[in-house]
Symmetry: C2
Subunit: 207 residues, 2 copies
């Protein structure tokens, strides 16, 4: 068996295979790249039907990166996957509070998830920044509460929590919001790899 | 909207929703738990049709954990997601070499992917250990070369690389091997979250 071992070649081939599935859905080239990288990360072309990208999302994210804004994530896997070296070139870093002792204590006391407590804890820092939620519907619900009730407005919310309990509902609510541009996925699918793919796809378009 | 905020309750509800999709496919309770957690991590019930668990895989993995064996991963996201605290209780740790300078140099020189070079670098350490590959088909190909050509035999290979270039082929080869029990997914789907879900599902069954 002939194995393709060159990373650039693997990525090029992969994007060529994905293109027919997305080219009629995403006419904007920047959005097409985001959608393609999500499909690449999931190995699942069905994502082409459920990816939703607000028309201001990519531009707003690029602007925030350029301004050196941070990326706030719900879980450590999303933090790990984001290309921190490339982001740091603009001055931004990736922050996640799920492992903080203070957050764990607050979660226990309030009987909420740790990722929900982590978002609540970031609070004002989130204004103008990039938010990437890949795991917990509760983190996205809390983020949207901060948007609506406290008027804390990130530059963009990449909100792709996964699962069968609250994920679809939290993402529907994200798409209904009128204040913050978003990248999301309709339904139950999503996950850390999807959040990472969406963000890195934008980061790799910076020049 | 009523939001479920209790993590235990979210997981319980989720597993109840998933059960009908897996109960006739996986009759062994331990395997059913692995399959359920994969579906939970992907938010995708279609996984029920493509998850393949070798009949000795869960038992062999549990035994390796109990013996304090390490887990070797292809990428940092898989390392991050694995419950290291729980694993450490048995003496094992999670290792990943993709960010090592030596590995990066070797990859460049040999014109191979970094994750492939990382696997090659672990070599003999992999014998009797747990291998979890969530991203790179090339890492799985290299692992299988070590099995066949050098007779380096892990206790179990969780091999779920993702994508359209080599992933399906590498997993087909994994299923064909007669030397090492495996957990895998047929076709293009997979990813770091899937590898993490499969391993943690086994870890959480230890008592």
């Amino acid at each position: 068996m002939e194995i393709t071992k060159n990373p650039m070649e693997i990525e090029k081939k992969s994007m060529e295979i994905i293109r027919p599935y997305v080219k009629d859905v995403f006419t904007d080239e920047a959005e097409l790249k985001v959608a393609s990288r999500i499909i690449h990360a999931a190995g699942d072309t069905d994502y082409a039907k459920v990816i939703r990208i607000h028309k201001a999302a990519v531009k707003s994210a690029k602007n925030a990166i350029f301004l050196g804004k941070n990326v706030y994530t719900d879980v450590e896997m999303v933090r790990t996957g984001i290309n921190k070296k490339k982001l740091a070139a603009y001055g931004g870093e990736v922050l996640c509070k799920i492992a903080d002792e203070e957050v764990a204590k607050e979660a226990k006391e309030c009987e909420i998830t740790r990722s929900m407590a982590a978002m609540r804890n970031f609070k004002g820092e989130l204004a103008g920044a990039i938010v990437a939620i890949g795991n917990a519907p509760t983190a996205l619900f809390e983020m949207l509460r901060l948007v609506e009730e406290e008027n804390i407005l990130p530059a963009v919310i990449i909100g792709v929590p996964v699962g069968f309990v609250g994920a679809a509902e939290s993402k529907a609510l994200l798409m209904k919001n009128k204040k913050v541009p978003y990248i999301t996925v309709e339904g139950t699918k999503g996950g850390s790899s999807i959040a990472v793919a969406a963000f890195n796809a934008i980061l790799y378009q910076m020049n």
